[in-house]
Structures are given as C-alpha cells and as structure tokens.
Symmetry: C3
Amino acid sequence: MDLQYGLELVGTFVFAISGALAIRELEHDMFGAGFTGFITAIGGGTLRDILLDSYPLVWIGDVVFLYAILAGILAAFTFTNFLSRLRKTFFLFDTLGIAFFTVLGVEKALSLGMRPEIAAIMGMFTAVMGGVIRDTLTNQIPILFRKEVYASACLAGAIVYLILDHLEIARDLNLLISIVVIIVIRLLSMKYKLSLPQLK
Amino acid sequence: MDLQYGLELVGTFVFAISGALAIRELEHDMFGAGFTGFITAIGGGTLRDILLDSYPLVWIGDVVFLYAILAGILAAFTFTNFLSRLRKTFFLFDTLGIAFFTVLGVEKALSLGMRPEIAAIMGMFTAVMGGVIRDTLTNQIPILFRKEVYASACLAGAIVYLILDHLEIARDLNLLISIVVIIVIRLLSMKYKLSLPQLK
Amino acid sequence: MDLQYGLELVGTFVFAISGALAIRELEHDMFGAGFTGFITAIGGGTLRDILLDSYPLVWIGDVVFLYAILAGILAAFTFTNFLSRLRKTFFLFDTLGIAFFTVLGVEKALSLGMRPEIAAIMGMFTAVMGGVIRDTLTNQIPILFRKEVYASACLAGAIVYLILDHLEIARDLNLLISIVVIIVIRLLSMKYKLSLPQLK
C-alpha cells in the first residue's frame, strides 16, 4: 500500500512536469504552464472518479497530491532547459507514468465493485485523459488520435491485468507483468514505428 | 418499457457507428475511431447524468450498452465503405437518433423530479453533447455551431413534449408526436436550407 | 445574503451576455450564440460543484438563474450593436464578474469544509472555467492561455481572501478587499500591458 501511494505521488509529480513543459512552444506564460501541468496531473483520475461517483476526488481528499503537483510545476519552471533536453528520459517517464496509472485505475474501479469491462476503460482513462484534456484546452490534436500506439497500449495492459486477476495470480506479480506489458508495447511500437491500421 | 430499452440500444449502436466513421477523413487509426465512436455514443447521456447526479451512469450500470457500442464500432470497421456510401441513410439514422435521445433525456429528467425547463435542456444535451464532445476532442467546430438546424430542432421537440405532457396527452402519442416534430424540422431545414439568423 | 444572491444573479446575467456576444465574429447563428451564453454563465460554477460533489447544481436547484441567463441572451440578441460598441464597459463588467465569482467560489468551497488550497482553486475555476469551456467548444485558445493577466488575478484575489479570513477579518470587509484586489490587478496589468514571464 505504501509503495502504491509513493508511486502514485511520483506519477502525479512527473505528469505535472510533462504537462507544464508541453505548452512551452505555445508561448503561454508561466500561469498557463502551471495550469496545464495541474490539468495533466489530475485530469485522468478526476474524470474516472466523476464517472464512478467516487468522492472526494483524490487531490481534494489528500492535499499531499496538490503539493506533488506544485513541486512538479516548480521543477518545470526552474529546470526548463535541462528537462527539455531530456527528451528520451521524458519519454521513459511518461511511459512509466501511463503504465502505472493504468493499473491504478483498473484496481480502483475493481475495488469499487465495477465489472472488468468498466475497469479496463477506467484504467485507460486514468492514464490518458489528463493529456487529452490538456491537448483539447490548448487546441492541439490529442496524442490519442495521432498515429502512435499510446492509449491502446494502456488498454492492452489493463486487459492483461484483468485476465491475470481472473486467473488469481498474486497481485504484486500481476502489477509487475501488466506494467511491463504496457511499457514493452509502447517502446517496441516507437522503435519500429508500428501503428494500428486506419479506416479507409 | 421494452420498446424504449430496445430503441435506446439501437440509438447507442447507431451513434457508435456514426462516431467511428466521423473521423475517417482525419487519418486517425482504428483505436482513435473506436474511441470517438464510444465518446459519441455515451457523451450526451453521461453529461446529463453527471449534471443530474444520477448514478450509476447508464453504460456503467448495464453492460449491454457497452456491447452495443462495441458492435457499432466493429460494424464501422467491417463495412466502412458500404456505410460511408450510405450518406443519406446515415443522415436519417442520425436524425432518428437525436429525435429519440431528446425524448429519452426529457423523460429521464422528469422522472428524477426536475422542472420542465431543466428537462428541456437535458433532452437537448442527451441528443447533441456526445457529438459536441467528439468534435471538440478532434479539433473540429461542433455541428451545433454550424449553420444547420440541429440542436434547436431537439430543443423544439423537447418543448413540444413538455407542453403535450402538461396537457396530459397519452405518453405513447406524445412520444410519437415529439419525435416526428424533431425529424420534420430537421428534414425540412435541410431540404430548404433553412437556418436561424445570425447576430450582427 | 440577499446582496450576495443579487450579485450572483447579476454576474450570471452579465456572463450570459458576454458569452453570447463572444462568438459574434464566428458567424454562428442565434442558437449557437445562446448556447455559448448559457455555457459561459454556468460553466465555472458547474465544474466547481461537480468536483466538490455539491448537488443540486445552482442553476438546476434554482430556476431563477436560468431566467437570468435567458434575459442575458435576449439582451445580447436585442442590443447586439449597442452592447458591442461598449467594449470598455464590457471589460469592466467581465472584470467585476470574475472578481465576484472568485470570492463566491472560495466561500462555497469553505462552506463545504474544504481546505484553503482547494478553496483557492475552486474560486479561480468558478470565475474562469465557463469562459475556458466556451473557448474550447468554439475552437479558440482559452483566454487563460493568452498573455493577459486573467486567471492569475483571480488566484491572487482568492489567496488574499483566504489570508484575511485566516486573520479573522470581518467577512464584508474581506469580500470588498479581495474583489478590489482582483479588479486592480486586472486593470493595472491591462493599462501597463503587464504579463507573467514565459517559459523558455
């Protein structure tokens, strides 16, 4: 439980950094950057909890999450150049972030008594909807709709978690496998420029 | 009740198809198409139920709706060309869909004890907000803001339903009249290229 | 309490006018204009209440707000040219509106037992998110992300209110000071074209 809480905080921190840096090229001011950092960090989990009627929202019930976000935004402001040069590192961080948030979202939905189909959707939403809301507010095409394998990797990982959970595999092992599945799908699809087919 | 449930499922199925096909020209992949199909199908009813604090959401409480959406997305994937050529058929389906969802939304709000003014807004939201959210996420101007008579036809039909309901007309007859009103307004406005005046 | 209620109604009325006029250049029809007027007037408070799980929503529980919005939309339709020429007057109205809604949002969050950090965010959201949702739906960059000092003035005013509240200053005086702080920051930043620094 403590490990999960710690990882959730780290994920929130990382998402706040990536959100704040995401609009660097858009010539927004620091307030705009902080705002997108905040939205990116809380968006997915907030949407999930509103859909599931699970209150209070995580960041409203536990103020530590707000401070993790604030720390992420300040880090983005202070080390803008340094962090921007770390593109590869960031890609890894973001991939880790979506992998972990997917599994967190699945587990939260299951703990609220949801069916596995709903839990899979909630896992994916937790991971990607913060970025989708950020991109929509800043008038960009959400990453979800670009060619990359992104949200589909999360959905695949969520389904793997649910299958292994159904097979009653130990939770820790399941967490590890599902997270690795998401990371591997994302890394391989980037390396070999794989994408899903288009409708024609 | 069974008829209503069946029609709601058919409406959900049709909206999922039209949502999945809507982004065909945007070069999104199959995952993106499925995602927009899903959002289009659930968006309006989900927004309505969140605003009215009515939980569980329809598609979360009854998994059959999820499978209707999945079937719609798979139909869009399998018969893409065939369905795309059916423009006129689709226009009719969409018109039927918004007409039916408008009345469903009004009835749901009334059944939750809402005033008629709120019920009219909820009817319109149920019909059009799924498409509005889809268009916003994909960076397009929502159909609501284009020149066509679209959401205003839904609002007119909702008001007709509420007036007839106030006059204590039999529900089945009222359903039929209100749905026909919406369809006729939409068809006539398309045929004669009618539109509401602009502000100047 | 009566003064607060009256001011909230006036604020809602003014926001509906400014929302309806905001899309004048976009060649939308009257329905689209009315829709954006509605969204602008209810958006911020609705988002706040959904995040805080505070139901019924203000405009659903008290139909008077709906009529204030309708009056604002009709005023925008009737006096379009006259109101559009009043740019400066409108800027003042909007500034008054965001100042007052910020403080209302802070007070509502506090009255629901929220921590000051959450109350500050809710104050800012109440003031600016209606406009953000409107701009997002109409495919424009939200004012929040433009160079002007806008949402940050609200956040500053919310923090001033919370500090003075912590110091147990009389509520009426606190209301007045916080609202004046927001107005002065916004007016000065417009007059001297001040803006926050960008990330680089």
